[in-house]
Symmetry: C2
Subunit: 341 residues, 2 copies
């Protein structure tokens, strides 16, 4: 029987044989894979991080390599906030939730006197930025519950059209890291299936990840609410409830990967202690595997933070990176640019 994978392999073979290169946007002249991949990582400076990632890529995709990995096992996982786009001074999803909370507030007079909603509505970012995960979750849930997935994504899309980052004064979608967009592209081109695995809301991400990361919806894994099956005007729909179904942070990231993807990925990218278990799970595999930690050490072009603070704390993972064989990436030294703005 013909399979998806077989079809795809056949296509690659046919297209490659016919055209010299199967990467649509690659130079028209035939070019060795190694060189092509290196060229595509053009937002990366030469150094240990870049060569570590390219070594891994070649070892796992070169049919002549002893560490060659068949396509169906080429799974790469990426944290989102702070790994693929800027998460400071406030995680974009929280910026959205605050804006949405203001829109919904007239229908919820009780929020004016109920924490954490009253704090969130105060506009005092110094206080808001100190809210812990349980309070932030309450706010996020309040702005999602009662909507279908389609309705909710529309709210996010609408917000993205006008919202701007407070420092860069650009739409949030422009704050994806160009070097990581390069990585997504090179790995996808080399037949890796790339999944986002974030503690952030799955539906918040799905509103824009097809456009920004060019990943299909089912390759986005994130926190979800329990869905209620309802009939609306003779049409079946699913409404988000107030009950959290999954909160995919820390060890739950590894659990969500195993349940959803069904196999251990061979490469993982993260930037905080919330990614520790994901990297550890991935780098506990038997074959060639790689864990990569993005270190925010570039206050000039983005932000410098690690061991302290509420957002993107990187402490335990930084301590253990060397012992665990994880590749540290210095945003300052390893990236020629951070954003494409």
């Amino acid at each position: 029987m013909q399979s998806n994978n077989l079809s795809r392999r056949t296509l690659v073979t046919m297209a490659a044989a016919g055209a010299g290169s199967y990467i649509g946007s690659a130079p028209a002249t035939a070019e060795p894979t190694l060189m092509r991949n290196a060229n595509l990582l053009r937002s990366w400076r030469d150094g240990e991080a870049k060569s570590g990632i390219l070594d891994f890529l070649h070892a796992t995709t070169d049919p002549a390599s002893s560490q060659f990995v068949p396509e169906q096992q080429r799974i790469a996982v990426f944290d989102n906030d702070g790994t693929l786009w800027t998460e400071q001074p406030i995680v974009p999803e929280i910026a959205f939730a605050l804006a949405r909370l203001h829109e919904l507030a007239p229908r919820h007079p009780e929020w004016a006197t109920t924490e954490p909603y009253s704090v969130a509505l105060s506009g005092d970012m110094r206080v808001i930025s100190q809210l812990g995960v349980p309070d932030l979750l309450k706010i996020v849930v309040a702005t999602q519950a009662g909507t279908t997935l389609e309705e909710f994504r529309k709210f996010v899309e609408t917000w993205l059209k006008t919202a701007q980052h407070p420092r860069f004064h650009k739409p949030y979608e422009k704050l994806a890291y160009q070097p990581m967009l390069d990585i997504l592209r090179v790995f996808s081109d080399n037949r890796f299936k790339c999944f986002i695995v974030s503690a952030g809301g799955c539906e918040f991400m799905r509103a824009w990840t097809e456009t920004v990361y060019h990943l299909p919806l089912e390759q986005i894994i994130g926190s979800t609410l329990v869905l209620e099956y309802v009939q609306q005007n003779g049409h079946a729909n699913l409404l988000q409830t107030q009950k959290v179904a999954t909160f995919t942070d820390g060890p739950q990231k590894a659990g969500a990967i195993a349940s959803t993807i069904g196999q251990r990925p061979i490469i993982a990218f993260g930037n905080s202690d919330g990614d520790y278990e994901m990297l550890q799970y991935v780098t506990s595999g038997n074959g060639r595997c790689l864990g990569v930690l993005i270190h925010h050490d570039d206050a000039e072009r983005e932000y410098a933070y690690d061991r302290t603070g509420h957002v993107g704390k990187l402490d335990r993972a930084l301590n253990d990176a060397k012992r665990n064989g994880w590749q540290l990436v210095s945003m300052k030294n390893d990236w020629t640019k951070v954003h494409d703005i």
Copy 2:
């Protein structure tokens, strides 16, 4: 940026332009798509069911069609037991769980006197076949808990090598329906992403679905247990616990589809009332969509059952099929063969 989807589209275009046909196993001569798809459904007799499915396929994949659906929205969902393979007289997963329970019993003397384990171990199939879902779930959980996904799948693989269906005396994998294997192939070849959505255990299925259905692991959705993150000899692993995380039957099938796949599929295949909401959700979409119900009316070649019984009850969905516009498939009349044995 280059995307997965773009790459695939580029490949299809390139390969099609270069070779006349991009289906690896299609005849070497160029052949109209319509004819090719019809030929590939060779286990289907001409009739309303076959032409309904082919009409849908052409309307959604022919670029000239007003109902054309872009590749990234071509999602098909399939129930498993009774839709893709034989589920009588006992669902294969339960046959496996009973066998595994016997293997584990020496370590659990308490099972000899505790229901439902004692019943399951009695070997009296007449009584066992009357066990309800809660009892069956307990048995399934008892045979999965404490194992990693990899270990558990190995047990299933080992069992499959020797287990035989009590009537057909063939390995269970041989009891996949040839007409449905044809459907999986034709839809995959036409760039549909096919997902299995079963109330059955996700990990039980993943042990054999790559081989039998040629679908990647992440396209298998089923019931799951909560996973516990553990360190074993310095390696990170995930152990299945006794706690059910998802039981994907009825409305939960629709919920799992929305959460995992992230969009409403456009075609769904089922065979029982447990698939009602999945079909209803899929056929509540705005564009062209199709719900298909496999009706077990072939006692000679397989089994005849619908409104009564414990396994694969088809009652409400049968009543409403016509009103809902769902395509009924008569196994007896619409299929030239049931199994390829």
